[in-house]
Symmetry: C2
Subunit: 307 residues, 2 copies
């Protein structure tokens, strides 16, 4: 059975504090702590590109677990801020890391739902074509496209990259997925002329409407209810969205992780960062990951601890 | 068994003739006909975006076969020239075509190898998650990024989009794939500052080196030899590259399709356009598709006629 054997993440050291931007944006401590829930955002250096961030995450993976570069069969990078539009960032990584010639490498373009989709894609691909070891990267440095004058986005998004080692010796295995798309609202998160535009309210309303419904579908068809899940790994869009979804689903507060106050909404990296934090906590037998955003697109996954 | 039930393609009507550019680029008829093998390139209108080209391909699909929009479970768009970097073009398509809410939609970023990888991804995804109908789009309008003064690229690339209907009632089913990546040469095809750069010689050398080797691997492990394949669908990079690969493999000329003299190298659309041309030719029992390019990335697929 394939699944996540290990996860590592890289969050750049540099921070920009939202407290220093209170006057500029007319916001207060209450807004920073309880509404957006982001006190400071992580920002990559100008010299760092998306592939560099992925390499840093991969170095951290190798600090945690023995990985032979030559064993890597599949590399998928989930990003909408690649190094270049051509070629795919996965190929650049393949070159820089010196992976073997019969290694598969492609990028998947998705935003905040990207990790869950990426996990579904790499697992299916490896299962069907009988590959043993894969790397699923997420890296979407929004600092490349956020307008520092835009209150809606510049206080919220942080830079990060993650890598998940997918193998036949998993800690967590994906038991089931539900997927969704509403392309009619695609303009709610859009990057034009290299600048991000976000309709935060539109996305929050959509997420609160569709995500809980699909989580209940996922649980029901696996014979589970809300209380059977040990941890909810909800995409860390903002404090408001995580709280709203938790409330709507009636989740026990202790089961919902909220983690991003010191680095921000890292798009497709937010869920794997949370999974990393529960990898060693054996009290977590069942976890539920829920990603939603750009597209609009969403996906939920049921993760079962194997060991 | 999943596979390709139908294919349709859209090539914009507008053409730019290479004969009118002989003086500008210091080329002659021999070069146009026998070296690059592209007499004119297809160019989309400025008003047309990538998603519009996909929609035109989808309309043509619906002219050929009854498709119920509500039955579409999965939409994958292979592109490196999306409408926007955010959101994925598949979501825009999903919205414009009014597909259902539980439809999966994501983009895959790959170039000339993109159709073969895309076919492998959508097939594995649908097989594992039990989806019945999927659409695999390819659309990579290089006219967006080609510098009209660049002889290496502006004589070669044409715009097109294709859509393959993937279902359990296939005409052709993918029997086996081989995949490859050489990221160390990623700079051989690169788009920076919205302008394409290509090291044509580098890519041709790489393709002639790695592609025949992998084709032989694919044939051997399926108990086949060169003569058992009825048609070779080699990525239509140029006349030179198709001829060179055919010669290196010792292919019978009648088994190699060359088709692009009136529209150009359409990147990930070149192979599905060729498949469309053999869909109804029942003498083609076995075909081999071979994509290679951006990354550098390559993939070969063995296609078997089911009906």
């Amino acid at each position: 059975m394939l699944g996540i054997e290990e996860i590592a993440y890289y969050i750049p050291e540099k921070r920009v504090s939202n407290y220093n931007r209170k006057e500029k944006f007319g916001i207060n401590d209450e807004f920073i702590r309880n509404r957006i829930g982001v006190e400071e955002i992580a920002v990559k250096s100008d010299l760092e590109n998306t592939s560099d961030m992925c390499i840093n995450a991969y170095k951290k993976l190798k600090d945690k677990i023995a990985v032979n570069d030559n064993d890597i069969d599949v590399v998928i990078v989930v990003t909408q801020n690649p190094d270049f539009n051509i070629p795919q960032t996965s190929a650049i990584l393949h070159g820089k890391l010196g992976f073997k010639e019969d290694c598969v490498a492609f990028d998947v373009s998705l935003g905040c739902s990207g990790f869950v989709y990426g996990l579904s894609v790499i697992t299916a691909f490896m299962q069907v074509y009988k590959f043993k070891k894969g790397l699923l990267f997420t890296a979407d440095p929004y600092s490349k496209i956020v307008d520092p004058a835009d209150k809606n986005t510049s206080l919220l998004f942080g830079d990060a990259a993650t890598v998940s080692l997918i193998s036949e010796n998993p800690v967590f295995s994906a038991q089931d997925f539900v997927f969704g798309t509403n392309g009619s609202c695609y303009k709610d998160l859009l990057c034009e002329n290299n600048t991000l535009y976000m309709n935060g309210r539109g996305i929050a309303n959509f997420a609160i409407k569709v995500v809980p419904k699909d989580i209940l579908v996922l649980l029901a068809r696996n014979g589970l209810t809300i209380v059977d899940i040990d941890k909810y790994l909800i995409h860390q869009g903002s404090r408001f969205i995580v709280d709203s979804l938790s409330k709507k689903l009636g989740l026990d507060e202790s089961k919902v992780i909220y983690d991003i106050s010191s680095y921000g909404n890292t798009v497709s990296s937010s869920i794997p960062i949370l999974i990393e934090k529960i990898m060693k906590d054996k009290s977590v037998k069942l976890a539920l990951g829920s990603g939603f955003g750009v597209g609009l697109s969403w996906a939920n996954v049921l993760l079962k601890r194997i060991r």
